[in-house]
């Protein structure tokens, strides 16, 4: 679990698994999710093992998340935007977009 050292940044309202969350402008989606809760940010499509962000620089692909209905996006490479909907993925994605 992460915490913000200062809370003076501009608030960006997003949802994480449907829950309203205040993120801060400039943060990546992965950072916002890590600050929201500890533990897994997805489970793997291979064995269902719990995983979370590892490298934060777009290399490891552990922070794959569903962002605005689009699965398997690298959460560390996308900045939060007002109204964004983020979901932690369970296993393999669906072929269709979620919404």
């Amino acid at each position: 679990m992460l915490r913000r050292r200062h809370n003076d940044g501009k608030v960006v309202k997003i949802t994480i698994d449907g829950e309203a969350v205040d993120a801060r402008a400039g943060e990546s989606v992965a950072a916002a999710v890590l600050a929201h809760a500890s533990g897994a940010t997805r489970t793997t499509p291979v064995s269902g093992a719990p995983r979370a962000s590892y490298c934060m620089m777009g290399v490891c692909f552990e922070c794959l998340m569903e962002i605005d209905g689009e699965p398997n996006r690298q959460g560390c490479m996308v900045r939060v935007e007002e109204g964004m909907s983020v979901r932690r993925q369970q296993g393999a994605r669906d072929m269709e977009r979620a919404s």
């Binding site: 499509p45 291979v46 296993g91 393999a92 994605r93 669906d94 072929m95 269709e96």
Partner: protein, 379 residues
């Protein structure tokens, strides 16, 4: 460790560790022959790794009914072959035989396919040929939940078609080969085969391997090795591209000639044909065309990410049919070449191996010799 130097004499030295060599070798080992596979290093032209994984019947054997029979025979033997591999090695090669489709976009493609399939049927003397045509509605029923693009007018379908995980097949064959006492020799690139008394010396980068019989199952390597041994077979490379998506939930219940969902969930997309010599680099234009057709056929594929593309070089004969030939000038040297190493793996292991061991040739083989290319040359 399998990486040792030229150990002793073998009954059969098989050149090539791809799809064909190991399959033949498994059959040879069952006859208690001493067999080695001579393979190259890690980063070479690996046709066997560029496979799509189809065990495919429909559309093969144009102009050669014997190839239709041979393919059918392999598809029929596959369940037993896959079961044996699993029993011995624990590796499930993922063989399934749910039938297969070739989806047709537009009336023109449909008419073309009907003509082509009809000709293969006629060439077989109007005997049994298990391919039928489905209209769009029938295809939709076969692929529930898969939204077809507007251009899809129908498909050709064969219940004989199926698929397999080609990588696991390769691993299972290699595992079984070593379990059954075969000797696998990587880093043994072969430069030459020489007659030495009643046997042959196979000259490799690591020394000489002696064997009574030699099978050249070396893909494009046959172009170099064959001619001095009386096996001048006009194979050529044809570049094919494959795209692979990320893993997704299971959606395709059966293989489609240009899409196949693996047991792991990724969808493979093909297929292309290009004349590019031995250049196996990726052509972005080709990748784009495959993607465009895939999106036209099943629009939902547009959402999936492509994680990998690759290009491999098919081993193609002028008539696209396989070669099984024993040299006339060098008896005991065999050439086996085909772009359908996956489809033919079962029949290679179960039947073609016997021919190398000394059984009479299967009746189909009079069509698979090298003479047909001489005829084409003079024609």
């Amino acid at each position: 460790m399998p990486d040792q130097t030229a150990p002793g004499n073998f009954d059969v030295a098989v050149i090539g560790g791809g799809m064909i060599g190991p399959a033949l070798s498994l059959g040879l080992l069952e006859r208690n022959l001493k067999v080695c596979i001579l393979d190259e290093g890690d980063d070479v032209l690996r046709v066997a790794r560029g496979n799509f994984g189809l065990v495919w019947f429909q559309g093969k054997g144009f102009g050669m009914p014997r190839y239709v029979e041979w393919t059918r025979r392999s598809a029929t033997l596959y369940p037993e072959f896959a079961a044996e591999l699993k029993e011995h090695t624990g590796v499930d090669v993922g063989h399934a035989n749910p039938g297969g489709l070739e989806l047709l976009l537009g009336e023109e493609e449909l008419a073309h396919r009907q003509r082509y399939i009809g000709q293969i049927y006629q060439q077989g003397g109007g005997k049994e040929y298990e391919v039928e045509f489905l209209d769009r509605k029938q295809v939709e029923e076969m692929l529930p939940g898969v939204g077809l693009g507007e251009d899809v007018v129908g498909a050709s379908y064969s219940p004989i078609d199926g698929h397999v995980n080609p990588l696991f097949l390769l691993r299972a064959m290699h595992t079984r080969f070593q379990q059954a006492g075969g000797t696998y020799l990587p880093h043994h690139r072969v430069s030459e085969v020489r007659k030495n008394g009643g046997a042959y010396d196979v000259v490799t980068e690591k020394g000489i391997v002696s064997a009574a019989k030699v099978v050249i199952a070396a893909g494009h390597g046959l172009r170099e090795l064959g001619p001095p041994l009386g096996l001048d077979i006009p194979i050529r490379p044809q570049r094919g591209h494959i795209l692979v998506t990320e893993r997704t939930k299971q959606i395709l219940p059966m293989p489609i000639s240009s899409f196949r969902q693996t047991v792991e969930g990724s969808i493979m997309l093909g297929v292309s044909a290009e004349e590019a010599g031995y250049d196996d680099t990726i052509n972005t234009g080709t990748v784009a065309k495959i993607a465009e057709r895939a999106a036209r056929t099943i629009p939902a594929l547009r959402h999936l990410n492509i994680v990998r593309t690759w290009a491999a070089l098919r081993v193609l004969t002028p008539d696209k049919c396989p070669v099984y030939a024993e040299s006339e000038t060098h008896p005991g040297i065999y050439a086996v070449a085909s772009h359908s190493g996956v489809t033919l793996a079962a029949v290679n292991a179960k039947v073609a191996s016997g021919w190398i061991a000394g059984d009479p040739a299967p009746e189909q083989f009079d069509a698979f010799g090298v003479e047909r290319f001489d005829a084409q040359k003079t024609a």
